[in-house]
């Protein structure tokens, strides 16, 4: 036991998904000494779009153009929704601060202040979102203006069909046109992967070859849509170079997860946070947690699938941002749903038979999606009596109960806002002391 490394920190953030990343951004912004720990980042499954609030009530599938008005209505109707724990200016401040971080992390976003934006998905549906990666923005504009537009896909890139996208959108967008090309820059294998294509396009000669292949087909197109493969580290440079070569606006359409925009997001944030002094312990998880007499927590850290403690963290406070099941913040057993680290009470349907609807796409959503940790106004998980279980334990993101981010289209916004709230509440405990 003597060899086990012991880390000391003010704040430990458990989770490397959107909520964990956002919490780390806010903590570093407030110069709080922070360790972040997590397994496979859920962020690589991100489309790149940041939803704030799109649909409420979900069973009537009412779509809102103005996300802030949607939040007002949501908070009025569902007073225990996590958004209801904050005032609207705080949510606004959270979004602004996080989007500023993205800018600083060289992963800039575009958005309209009080309006959702319609974007294109790889299956050809149109989705409402709030903030859009800069590399995808021209697509939102093209869709809005119904521009003459060419969509290109590549032989060998699976689950991305320009024809499917064009066919799906044609009724509302008559001037959209598909084109299939052979990708000019990757070797013998027929199977193409977005990351490999993105890396190939970091090389100037490959961009010139690609532009040459596209040019004869442009005709009257004002804009050009490509799968999200325009560079891994320098997407801006890759895109603007291609725009210059072809003389049209170019945009990316995300591919199915895990996609290049997800990887870009993860890598940009990791670098940004590391530069800001956040200590990341990657690919590890917190195995056990124990509160000491001085109220600090001792966390045992180890590998996934092992109970062996490799290092310890002594920390003044913890933010649980491990998501729901995919992020392992919660565990669903045959009998019930548990929070595995602190064994916190989990709000959940009384019986597994009530977890999921018979129809996967049921507009009501699945009741298991409302399960999670209940919190007080300081984002502290509460017990049955509504009292915080620990004064220095907080939670943020999709681990929280009473929200259905997948149906309400509020995933990123919820993660960012509640991370902001949790960091703010933790910071207050430092000041109070």
């Amino acid at each position: 036991m003597t060899n086990i490394k012991k880390n000391h920190t003010k704040l430990t953030i458990i989770g490397t998904g959107m909520a964990g990343m956002a919490a780390a951004c806010f903590a570093s912004h407030n110069r709080i000494d922070t360790i972040q720990i997590g397994i496979n980042s859920g962020i690589i499954y991100s489309s790149g779009f940041f939803d704030l609030m799109g649909i409420h009530p979900i069973d009537t599938q009412l779509t809102w153009n103005n996300p802030w008005q949607a939040i007002d209505q949501l908070v009025a109707d569902i007073p225990n929704h996590p958004y209801a724990r904050m005032r609207k200016p705080e949510i606004e401040a959270a979004m602004k601060q996080f989007l500023d971080c993205m800018e600083a992390a060289e992963c800039p976003y575009m958005f309209l202040k009080n309006q959702n934006t319609e974007v294109i998905t790889p299956v050809g549906t149109v989705k409402q979102t709030y903030a859009v990666p800069r590399s995808m923005w021209a697509g939102a504009v093209a869709l809005k203006e119904r521009q003459s537009c060419l969509i290109v896909d590549f032989v060998g890139l699976k689950a991305f069909s320009a024809k499917q996208i064009a066919d799906m959108l044609m009724p509302r967008w008559p001037k959209i046109r598909p084109l299939r090309l052979t990708f000019p820059a990757v070797g013998a294998s027929a199977d193409l992967y977005p990351e490999q294509m993105a890396r190939a396009l970091e090389i100037e000669a490959n961009r010139i070859k690609l532009a040459d292949a596209i040019r004869p087909h442009l005709a009257d197109a004002k804009s050009l849509g490509l799968p999200a493969i325009l560079g891994m580290y320098k997407p801006h440079q890759v895109r603007t170079h291609l725009e210059k070569l072809l003389g049209v606006d170019i945009f990316e359409i995300p591919t199915i997860p895990p996609s290049v925009p997800g990887v870009r997001l993860k890598e940009a944030l990791e670098k940004f946070l590391s530069d800001r002094g956040v200590r990341l312990i990657p690919q590890k998880r917190a195995l056990f947690a124990e509160q000491q007499k001085n109220r600090k927590f001792i966390l045992s850290i180890g590998d996934i699938g092992s109970d062996k403690t490799e290092q310890m963290i002594e920390t003044d406070g913890v933010i649980l941002a491990g998501g729901r099941f995919l992020g392992m913040g919660l565990y669903a057993g045959r009998k019930k749903i548990q929070e595995p680290l602190f064994n916190l009470p989990v709000f959940q349907p009384e019986d597994r038979a009530l977890w999921h609807q018979a129809n996967f796409f049921d507009p009501k959503g699945h009741r298991i999606s409302q399960a999670g940790l209940e919190i007080d106004d300081s984002f502290r998980p509460t017990d049955a009596a509504g009292k915080p279980v620990y004064n220095n334990l907080f939670a943020a993101g999709s681990i929280l109960a009473h929200q259905d981010w997948m149906r309400q289209k509020c995933g990123a916004g919820l993660a960012i806002a509640t991370a902001y709230g949790a960091v703010k509440a933790f910071r207050k405990t430092l000041i109070d002391r």
Binding site: G124, T125, K158, S161, A190, I256, R352, H356, N359, P363
Partner: protein, 525 residues
């Protein structure tokens, strides 16, 4: 003008019996058309254990069925060897099971003339390490496992090659009678919404649990009990042999291995209607708990799919346990109801499907004056080239053997390449022009791996657009109905890792693509 087809025999129902009749009749040189409301094996033929009974299961309460099973078991092992795995079977009892039943079992078997050989308990546990250490008795029997999908695909493919027409998604809506004779049958193509009709000399109702409903449309009466059974598929194979619980038939008392998985079941629940036949969480929990008393590992193993079928049991509105109702079959000549050219075949079980088809075809032939004898006792069912993608394990083997770099894997879990999809789709083209993911799923392994369709549905849909086999917004409804079909089997098994998969699937299909907002998405299939 309504499209009109003509044939000698119209068979209704694409399960084991209907496709068995189609093969039997075409082998005798009789022209026929098979129509099916959905697709092959949509009813009990696709929702059973895949058990080729030795007969021992029925020795105590239905010795006649037991003998039928024994004979067909032996015959099918000769006639359809590619569809059958000769696993052998065990009957085992654990502490607390009825000692009298255990003591009498051998004599029941002897009386029905079903081979059964007592086994030392230690020997049995050595042969099947998954057996409980509380096992107190074991007998070896001649059970085997049969792949019902392959069996039915082979039957219908063989029949098609011999000239039988097979129309999927075609629902009978009306029988047009002239006096005592059905002159024609009106059908609805459920994908195009178009009606058409078929004139036939004789009509065979082989619709299993739906036989009562179809007979009623024709003005005839069939009395059936609907007994719902739910089964679970394990992620990996649990035993080498079929394992039966040595007790009067009860819940979760049979575990049947098949390829790389095992199937555990079943329950028996009386149903009033055939709508919404789905597994429930309560049934799943009961099956897992009961199964675990026989094999404790069944408590913690991962399950990949649950499904329910309805046994069409011969009726009379009996009382007590439906398991005591005979598993025999019923061949009804509706001449007795005043319809001269209408026959219903129902009841029975997978093991006896061939015999049911033979008896039905004999009756059909005697009615239409054909004297050719049954040939399914002598001509083996050879695996057709077209059916090979449905066989578990074929696709990966094929992939590694002729690795073609240009042949992209569209289903990565089960390693199904685009050439397989192309071939299956071509097979659709010949017969009914309708390309659907669910239909491809019936004829290949897509959606059956650990992603349960989450990713392959997207890859295959994009591929079908590129081949001009889908257009406009069809893709959204194809993904929707395929995912929901898989969901039916997942919903009750969502704990542990499968919950994680389901969450990812919802994050993608709803959170990202918004497919729940597409038209049609609120209807459950």
């Amino acid at each position: 003008m309504k499209n009109k087809l003509k044939t000698r025999v119209l068979i209704i129902g694409g399960g084991a019996t209907g496709t068995g009749i189609a093969r039997d009749l075409t082998l005798r040189g009789v022209k026929c058309i098979l129509v099916e409301k959905r697709d092959i094996n949509a009813g009990a033929s696709g929702a059973n254990h895949g058990l080729l009974h030795s007969g021992a299961r029925y020795v105590s309460n239905d010795p006649e069925s037991a003998k039928e099973c024994r004979d067909e078991n032996r015959l099918l092992k000769q006639m359809a060897p590619d569809c059958i795995e000769e696993t052998g079977g065990l009957f085992v009892a654990v502490e607390g099971d009825d000692e009298k039943f255990i003591a009498d079992f051998q004599s029941y078997c002897d009386k029905a003339d079903i081979p059964c050989c007592p086994m030392d308990v230690e020997e049995a546990r050595e042969a099947e390490p998954a057996l409980s250490d509380k096992t107190i008795a074991a007998f070896a029997v001649e059970d085997a496992s049969v792949d019902p999908f392959k069996l039915v695909l082979e039957n219908i493919t063989d029949a098609q090659k011999l000239g039988c027409k097979f129309l999927r998604h075609s629902q009978v809506v009306k029988f047009n009678k002239q006096g005592n004779t059905i002159e024609s049958v009106d059908l609805l193509n459920k994908t195009t919404g178009k009606e058409f009709s078929i004139e036939a000399d004789i009509v065979v109702n082989a619709t299993g649990a739906w036989a009562g409903q179809v007979a009623a449309l024709a003005g005839a009466d069939i009395d059936l009990i609907y007994s719902k059974g739910t089964l679970l598929i394990t992620h990996s194979r649990v035993s080498q042999r079929v394992v039966n619980r040595l007790r009067p038939p009860g819940d979760a008392d049979i575990l049947v291995p098949g390829g790389t998985v095992s199937i555990l079941g079943t329950t028996s629940l009386r149903m009033d209607s055939l709508d919404k036949i789905r597994p429930t969480v309560e049934e799943v929990d009961r099956i897992v708990d009961e199964g675990a008393t026989m094999m404790p590992g069944l408590e913690s193993t991962r399950y990949i799919r649950a499904y329910s079928g309805v046994r069409p049991l011969l009726g009379g509105g009996g009382k007590g346990d439906d398991r005591s109702v005979t598993r025999g079959f019923d061949l009804v000549d509706h001449a007795k109801d005043g319809i001269e050219n209408f026959i219903t075949i129902t009841g029975g079980k997978l093991t006896t499907f061939r015999l049911m088809a033979e008896k039905t075809s004999d009756l059909v032939c005697s009615r239409i004056g054909v004297s050719a004898p049954c040939q399914t006792r002598t001509i083996p069912l050879i695996s057709a080239h077209e059916t090979r993608w449905a066989v578990p394990g074929f696709s990966p083997k094929n992939w590694f053997k002729n690795h073609d770099k240009n042949d992209l894997l569209l289903c990565e879990c089960e390693m199904v390449p685009q050439s397989a999809i192309e071939e299956i789709v071509e097979y659709f083209d010949i017969f009914d022009q309708q390309v659907d993911l669910k239909g491809i799923g019936k004829r290949s392994r897509i959606g059956k791996g650990s992603c349960q369709g989450n990713f392959c549905s997207l890859r295959i849909t994009a591929f079908l657009y590129d081949r001009d086999l889908l257009s406009a917004d069809q893709g959204a409804s194809e993904i929707h109905s395929f995912i929901n079909e898989r969901w039916k089997g997942q919903r009750c098994l969502l704990w542990g890792t499968p919950v994680v998969q389901a969450e990812l699937q919802e994050a993608m299909h709803c959170g990202f693509f918004g497919l729940e907002l597409q038209p049609n998405s609120s209807t459950s299939s």
